[in-house]
């Protein structure tokens, strides 16, 4: 897709995101390996450094700032593995993207009461 995505509030993971987020997504992909999960839990910063993350990227990951991770090119399917190592519900990640409080997100977006 050569034109900027025209759908409001809906980033598409195109070349720009893919290139920009490459390091972060690679780091997250590697969490599919148990040895890497152990390394992440034991010394998260050292683990992130192994994949050459920038200071900005490291801060976003270590703060579990999902909105910022996506802004920096993280793709949910990769960075979700962080939530496998350090559990957080997907709806909370969704709420962070939407910029909403979790309860409001569940009610307004997902129709949960």
């Amino acid at each position: 897709m050569t034109t900027p995505n025209p759908i409001p509030d809906t980033p598409l993971f195109d070349r720009k995101g893919s290139i920009r987020g490459y390091r972060m997504n690679k780091m997250a992909m590697a969490l599919g390996n148990p040895a890497n999960r152990k390394a992440f839990l034991e010394d998260e910063e050292a683990y992130l450094d192994r994949f050459g993350l920038t200071a900005e990227e490291k801060t976003a990951v270590m703060a579990r700032d999902w909105h910022e991770m996506v802004r920096l090119g993280g793709n949910l399917f990769f960075i979700l593995k962080i939530s496998a190592v350090d559990p957080v519900p997907i709806t909370q990640i969704g709420a962070a993207q939407a910029g909403m409080e979790h309860g409001a997100f569940l009610a307004q977006r997902l129709g949960k009461v």
């Binding site: 809906t10 893919s18 390996n33 399917f77 939407a98």
Partner: protein, 280 residues
């Protein structure tokens, strides 16, 4: 010749697998969802297929961004469930319909598709969950599988028309296979959901319900939509629904909609299924 005895469409939300792993099957959140699949399971028991051709996308588990295949076809003897970060799941390995897979690859290439041909690869929830939804949790899966991966993650993703055309070639390939296998074809993914961006949590119940009927009665409508239309109507991740078109393209112009089920939200996703049979 082998024959396609049914076309199934279904969601493949990962939290479905988690719910099954944790025994949440009968909780108020999940019971209505799983109950709706009982008819599909019964249909499968009666249909007694030998092979399931499963169209799905990988979710950053078997493929990384270093090498993204537009379409990939498995030709392996066995596919293990991949560790998605939560550790191994207690489900059996999948046996590959190796010979049929190679035949499909031959036909696809002859008909000008350009698959990545995979002989050593694991499968993620995109294949696992549909198998669990229709076959439960057996000690061994009662069918062999042909996994077919579609890129729905990194743009450009294939067009709806291309997915449809692949279905047509798969049908031709299956019906030219000298074996007598009974084949079901599963289109998976969706329904509406969006995980990223300020529209995260987007679910479009109206579009989902229209889809479940329309994929049976008016597939041309969906085939003619653009990729952008899919994203707009079904959400950035709901655009996965293009994979149901592969299944639908492999069926007759006229089909009978045998079973249909919808539930929303399953986790953050509109979820459901259809069972289709050819009607000539």
């Amino acid at each position: 010749m082998a024959q396609i005895i049914g076309g199934l469409g279904t969601s493949h939300v990962p939290s479905i697998g988690v719910a099954l792993d944790r025994g949440l099957h009968d909780t108020p959140d999940w019971k209505p969802f799983f109950d709706g699949y009982e008819a599909g399971k019964q249909w499968m028991r009666d249909a007694k297929p030998d092979v399931a051709v499963v169209i799905f996308n990988d979710h950053g588990n078997s493929f990384f961004l270093d090498r993204v295949p537009t379409f990939a076809v498995g030709v392996a003897e066995t596919y293990k469930p991949v560790d998605e970060g939560w550790g191994p799941r207690a489900i059996p390995d999948f046996q590959g319909a190796e010979d049929l897979s190679w035949h499909l690859v031959d036909k696809l290439v002859e008909r000008h598709f350009d698959p990545l041909v995979c002989r050593e690869i694991e499968v993620d929830h995109g294949l696992q969950v549909p198998m669990e939804l229709f076959f439960g949790r057996p000690d061994a899966w009662p069918v062999k599988v042909v996994p077919i991966w579609v890129n729905t993650i990194q743009y450009p993703i294939p067009t709806p028309q291309r997915c449809w055309d692949m279905g047509r070639v798969l049908r031709e390939a299956i019906e030219s296979w000298p074996g007598d296998e009974r084949v079901v074809i599963l289109g998976t993914g969706g329904l509406s959901h969006q995980l990223q961006g300020a529209r995260a949590g987007f679910i479009n119940r109206e579009a989902d319900l229209a889809w479940l009927d329309g994929i049976a009665t008016d597939p041309e409508h969906y085939r003619n939509m653009t990729r952008e239309d899919y994203v707009e109507q079904f959400g950035s991740e709901g655009a996965e629904l293009i994979m149901w078109l592969v299944m639908r393209g492999a069926m007759d112009a006229k089909v009978n909609l045998i079973h249909k089920h919808y539930h929303a939200p399953a986790s953050m996703t509109g979820a459901g299924m259809v069972v289709l049979e050819n009607a000539g």
